[in-house]
């Protein structure tokens, strides 16, 4: 605005005077507009942004005071200079009180006018600049507020808990995830929080707060929060520094690792079960050998033959178990790189049957196939699906009675291929049905005593079925037989590709 001409509005009913001032000031490089009465003056003043407005106190329509008041109300930064022929101290004082910058009595000399205008323009500059500054500051504050609320939103929306604690152990900032993680109902900013923290966390925090030199690495611990169940948290503490590098406090990030811990637990449990299952046959075989080795113990020739045979059986069982375990771990890894091809389930079944022919005829089992003729080809890993059928077939034969039946049935049912494998074997007791698919579960009763198995066959079957988003169920009656029912989705190509 410095480069522009100062804009002046002259409101005066005396035509000669206002025209005279206009031409005089235009010569002095001002931009000038004129108004002949109060209302048109107000109109002009509000429509434009004048630097200085000269208001005659005595106007034909409304009082000069009114004009001053109206203009100051909506244009507080306008500099108003009041002029009047009826000069009096009172008039001067009251006009200044209403917001006039100065008071100039009529008649005035051009120099007097110029002097007043220069003073006014200086004041105008100050006012305008301070307003600019004020606006900038407000904008800046608004930006900070926005930034802060953005940050709050971000921190609030992350699933990890966040706690910021100052160097005397008071809470400075937190998100609600932290409350959930620690199972706290509420906390207050400014609250002394140290003693409320779980012990492991408290100790780490004390180390941070009491450290002589700032600990500049993160320290992580695991904590257990007991609520309805148990929640495992991973808590990471890091020092927070002021911009000058001095210690400000500690930020704690809490992550829920319960799922991870559960997996770890299941894996450990599986390993200890495997160890136990492997130990039993080795122990049994070793036991027989040691009995035969022990000279103090007398055993008959028949016993010796029996013990040898049983040792061999147990070691064979151990080997089978190891093979099953290898299969399971291969399956777990293979999920990433299966050999998926388009195959017909019926064909796989037909290919497997000959493998069992000998066992089937040995037990004089009647096998019946009812394979649906509209079964679509689906994308599968052939070796996995073969393995699934082989395990089920092997069970159907192993647990069947002599002269029993096995029916294999396939059918297209909406989006699924339905497969049923029915046997007339020993069946399952009600209490064993729920446990059948568990690792190492084997029904133990007088009928299963002489049947060997690893307890992993059906676990493998279930894992294969579920890895194709399929489902396996069973129907069974003790001493009557068992039917396994499998649904395999036919539109699974994209999911396994």
């Amino acid at each position: 605005m410095q480069e522009l001409k100062p804009k002046i509005l002259v409101i005066d009913d005396e035509k000669a005077l206002r025209e005279g001032i206009k031409s005089f000031l235009e010569n002095e490089s001002f931009y000038v507009e004129i108004a002949k009465n109060g209302l048109s003056g107000i109109e002009l003043a509000l429509k434009n942004d004048f630097d200085i407005i000269m208001i005659d106190m005595k106007l034909p329509d409304i009082e000069g005071y009114e004009v001053l008041k109206k203009i100051k109300e909506s244009k507080p930064n306008s500099i108003c200079i009041v002029s009047t022929a009826f000069a009096s101290i009172e008039a001067a004082v009251s006009s200044v009180r209403l917001g006039a910058f100065s008071y100039i009595p009529k008649p005035f000399s051009p120099d007097e006018l110029l002097f007043q205008l220069e003073q006014g323009i200086k004041q105008r500059k100050i006012l305008v600049e301070s307003e600019l500054l004020r606006n900038e500051k407000e904008e800046f504050l608004l930006e900070i507020a926005n930034e802060k609320s953005r940050l709050n939103t971000i921190i609030e929306s992350i699933s990890s808990g966040v706690l910021l604690i100052n160097k005397i152990g008071e809470l400075v900032y937190f998100n609600h995830a932290a409350l959930n993680k620690l199972n706290w109902k509420s906390i207050q900013i400014g609250e002394y929080i140290l003693e409320r923290l779980p012990d492991e966390l408290k100790n780490i925090l004390k180390d941070f707060l009491n450290a002589e030199t700032i600990i500049n690495k993160s320290i992580t611990t695991q904590i257990e929060i007991v609520t309805k169940g148990v929640m495992f948290l991973d808590a990471t503490c890091s020092a927070v520094l002021h911009s000058d590098g001095s210690f400000a406090g500690v930020v704690i990030i809490l992550k829920n690792i319960t799922g991870f811990k559960k997996n770890e637990f299941i894996k450990n449990q599986f390993i200890s079960m495997v160890a136990h299952e492997l130990k039993s046959p080795v122990l049994a075989a070793l036991g027989f050998l040691q009995l035969m080795q022990d000279e103090k113990i007398k055993i008959t020739k028949e016993q010796e033959v029996d013990f040898f045979n049983r040792s061999v059986q147990r070691l064979k069982g151990a080997l089978e178990l190891i093979n099953d375990l290898l299969d399971i771990s291969r399956m777990e890894m293979k999920k990433k790189y299966r050999e998926i091809v388009c195959v017909n389930i019926n064909k796989i079944i037909s290919n497997i049957i000959p493998i069992f022919e000998l066992e089937i005829s040995k037990k004089n089992i009647h096998l019946a196939l009812q394979l649906g003729d509209n079964i679509p080809e689906i994308n599968l890993d052939t070796s996995e699906i073969s393995r699934m059928f082989m395990n089920l077939m092997s069970n159907a034969i192993k647990y069947n009675r002599n002269g029993g039946y096995i029916n294999i049935f396939t059918k297209l049912e909406s989006n699924y291929i339905l497969i049923k494998i029915m046997d007339t074997g020993i069946g399952l007791k009600e209490e064993d049905k729920g446990l059948l698919f568990n690792e190492f579960f084997r029904a133990k009763n007088k009928l299963t005593k002489n049947i060997s198995g690893t307890g992993l066959g059906l676990t493998i079957v279930k894992r294969i079925v579920e890895s194709y988003q399929g489902k396996i169920e069973l129907e069974s009656e003790f001493e009557k037989g068992t039917t396994f029912i499998i649904w395999l989705p036919i539109n699974n190509s994209s999911k396994n590709g």
Binding site: N268, S272, A275, H276, K279, S280, L283, A284, L286, G287, F288, Q290, L291, D294, K296, I297, K298, I299, R310, R314, K444, K449
Partner: protein, 134 residues
């Protein structure tokens, strides 16, 4: 008279019939009279019927804690309180939990008189049984 001679009749419970038979032969070679049962259920029936002088029970049978349950049931009978009940296990390996019966608290909740490691070392069995007599 050796204190082992106090034990005329011992009940052996294990669902692994091979191990059951081996231990039976082993213990019989010491001159003990052995009664066997291949399940916790059968074990309790045999205990009630035979009232043995000691019981040795495998830990993991139908359930991972079948041995404890059976031992608890036996210890709750009048006769059971008079005889030693030992749990047969490699439990430190099996469960990852190390337990013993050295304090009264442990004895109170485990309700058995001691543990035997698999495979059974005959000297260990004898020393545990003799300790109970003393």
């Amino acid at each position: 008279m050796k204190s082992i001679d106090n034990y005329k009749k011992i009940l052996l419970v294990d669902d692994d019939i091979d191990l059951l038979e081996q231990n039976k032969i082993l213990f019989e070679s010491l001159g003990l009279n052995i009664i066997t049962a291949d399940s916790a259920k059968e074990g309790l029936i045999q205990f009630m019927k035979e009232l043995p002088d000691a019981a040795i029970i495998d830990l993991i049978m139908e359930r991972p804690d079948s041995g404890f349950v059976l031992s608890h049931k036996i210890k709750n009978t009048e006769h059971g309180r008079k005889i030693p009940v030992l749990i047969l296990s490699s439990a430190t390996y099996d469960t990852g939990i190390k337990f013993g019966t050295t304090t009264p608290e442990e004895k109170a909740w485990i309700k058995c008189d001691g543990f035997l490691n698999k495979p059974v070392v005959i000297e260990e069995l004898i020393s545990k049984l003799e300790k109970f007599v003393n």
